[in-house]
Amino acid sequence: MTTTVTTRPAISAAGLRKAFGTKVVLDDIDLTVTEGTVFALLGPNGAGKTTMVRILATLLPPDGGSIRVAGHDLIGDPDGVRAAIGLTGQFSAVDRLLTVQENLRLMADLHRLGRGEGGRRVARLIERFDLGESARKPVSQLSGGQQRRLDLAMTLVGDPRLIFLDEPTTGLDPRSRHEMWRIVRELVAEGVTVFLTTQYLDEADELAARIAVLDHGRIVAEGTPDELKRRIPGGHLRLRFTDPHSLRTAASVLGSAHRDDEALTLQVPSDGDVASLRAVLETLDGVRVQPADLTIHTPDLDDVFFAFTGGPAIASDSAPAAASALASVPASKEIR
């Protein structure tokens, strides 16, 4: 890491490895998650996302690597890690026979909060997650979105500084999904670090400060959403002109542009940064042509995803095999 981080990292892993039998699930992973940010681990089904979460949350021992989570060594002090984290797994981790309130009380008791403090936190979380009306209902009577909210509320009873959300919005309707996003943003605003796995590109784009793309147990790309987008070919400026003459003039000075005489547009390859934008506009000024409008197309995360995981968008040497693996239509569960 060359960036200067004043806070200590919430998670740092170097050389993390895990295999089940002969099948290597995580292969020499290095990653650093800065405190108070959302870090998204993006990948298709079976990439190893859940295994990574289970290792970082002390549920599964790694085969190798040096890993610190929330300031504690994962191997040497797992209880220290456990006391600082909260986990909301892919599968609902609520007690279906208990009510909403009893589930939260159970968590408060397991955090040994005592009657008064426990009661206060439970009441606060019920209020915050809008579970007041169902507080006395058994969990089995809640909707999917409500169960998911309860799941997260239970994770927060212990006031963790670092939470793991394993595919938090998989299977939720759009409203519940946006609700979940709002809650994640609130948590980060309070200084909580969120380690999120998702197979939805818009989710990572929407929430995460940094994204790592995991594919076949390796991190194939890492950076801010914008950095990742910039690393992808396919970005361009689209210039529209009011008359064919201006279009021809502009095309003659802009070289490698793709010209569309019907729409009176030019597409100029560009990574969308200010310098290249200025260069294009200055060139046009030189021949006294002004575009009617200008749009910048940066590749979205779909492009990033397919490019780095060797999908259909960009042909790389391993593309065909990887592309078919990526498609993986039957939602095959990751190895647990």
Binding site: L59, G80, I85, A93, V94, L98
Partner: protein
């Protein structure tokens, strides 16, 4: 707080969870009481005249003979409860949640065992109540009653740990609800319902040497004053052995399953 104090607090919390489950589903406890009561009535009123005569007495003599076996039958039947509950826990995400928290490792299983023992005791009290109501007349002293409670607690503890281990080893909740059923058969293949002397040799050897027989003989001796001999020692040894092996098996499976 010390580790021991943590362990006690967390086990207490997990026990409360199990008691809430019991309260939410009284029908399960009802079933665990219902079956032994039906068997008690069936054997006393349908077969009891004939069986009592076979023992050289009458129906009320058979009721006295039968009750200790029925009590053990009750405890054995109650073992299905924790097997199902543990298997349900293991198939849901909640165990991952518990394991990712800084709580005492054994607390979850301890909660299951203690909760199930509470359930067993409720069932035993109810069945004993019915037996007394229809004429069971034990001659036990207060001290002997205490020993009866202790003997039942020991076998209940052992069978519950066995059930927890079976529930942990089961791949599904359905399997978990079936495997402990053989426990309910054992009182029949022992001295629970008829004396073992009348059985064919092979079966008799099994019946006299299986763990439930010394437990039944001990209960019978304490309640009715028949000879106990070395039954109590043998019974307690069986309980200790079953508990220890089941505990180790359950713990091993818990760690193994959790690590998948």
């Amino acid at each position: 707080m010390t580790t021991l104090a943590h362990s006690l607090t967390d086990s207490g919390t997990m026990l409360r969870r199990q008691l809430l489950h019991l309260r939410r589903y009284p029908s399960l406890t009802g079933m665990l009481i219902g079956l032994p009561v039906i068997f008690l009535l069936l054997f006393v009123y349908v077969f009891g005249g004939t069986l009592g005569a076979g023992l050289g007495g009458d129906r009320s003599a058979y009721l006295d003979y039968l009750t200790p076996g029925i009590l053990l039958f009750t405890v054995a039947g109650a073992a299905a409860g924790p097997a199902i509950a543990v298997a349900m826990d293991m198939t849901e995400g909640i165990v991952d949640r518990f394991r990712s928290m800084a709580i005492a490792r054994g607390a979850l299983l301890t909660g299951h065992v203690l909760g199930s023992m509470v359930q067993s005791f409720l069932a035993v009290l109810a069945v004993l109540g019915v037996a007394l109501a229809i004429g069971f007349r034990p001659n036990a002293t207060a001290l002997e009653w205490l020993a009866v409670a202790g003997m039942l607690a020991a076998i209940s503890f052992a069978l519950t740990w066995l059930a927890v281990a079976l529930g942990m080893a089961a791949d599904s909740v359905e399997t978990a609800s079936n495997t402990p059923m053989f426990l309910s058969l054992l009182p029949f293949l022992g001295s629970g319902f008829v004396p073992t002397e009348t059985m064919p040799t092979g079966l008799r050897v099994f019946a006299e040497n299986q763990p439930f027989t010394p437990v039944i003989e001990t209960l019978r001796g304490l309640l009715l004053g028949t000879g106990i001999g070395n039954s109590a020692i043998v019974a307690l040894a069986w309980c200790a052995g079953i508990t220890l092996l089941s505990y180790l098996w359950a713990k091993r499976n818990y760690n193994k399953r959790a690590a998948r």
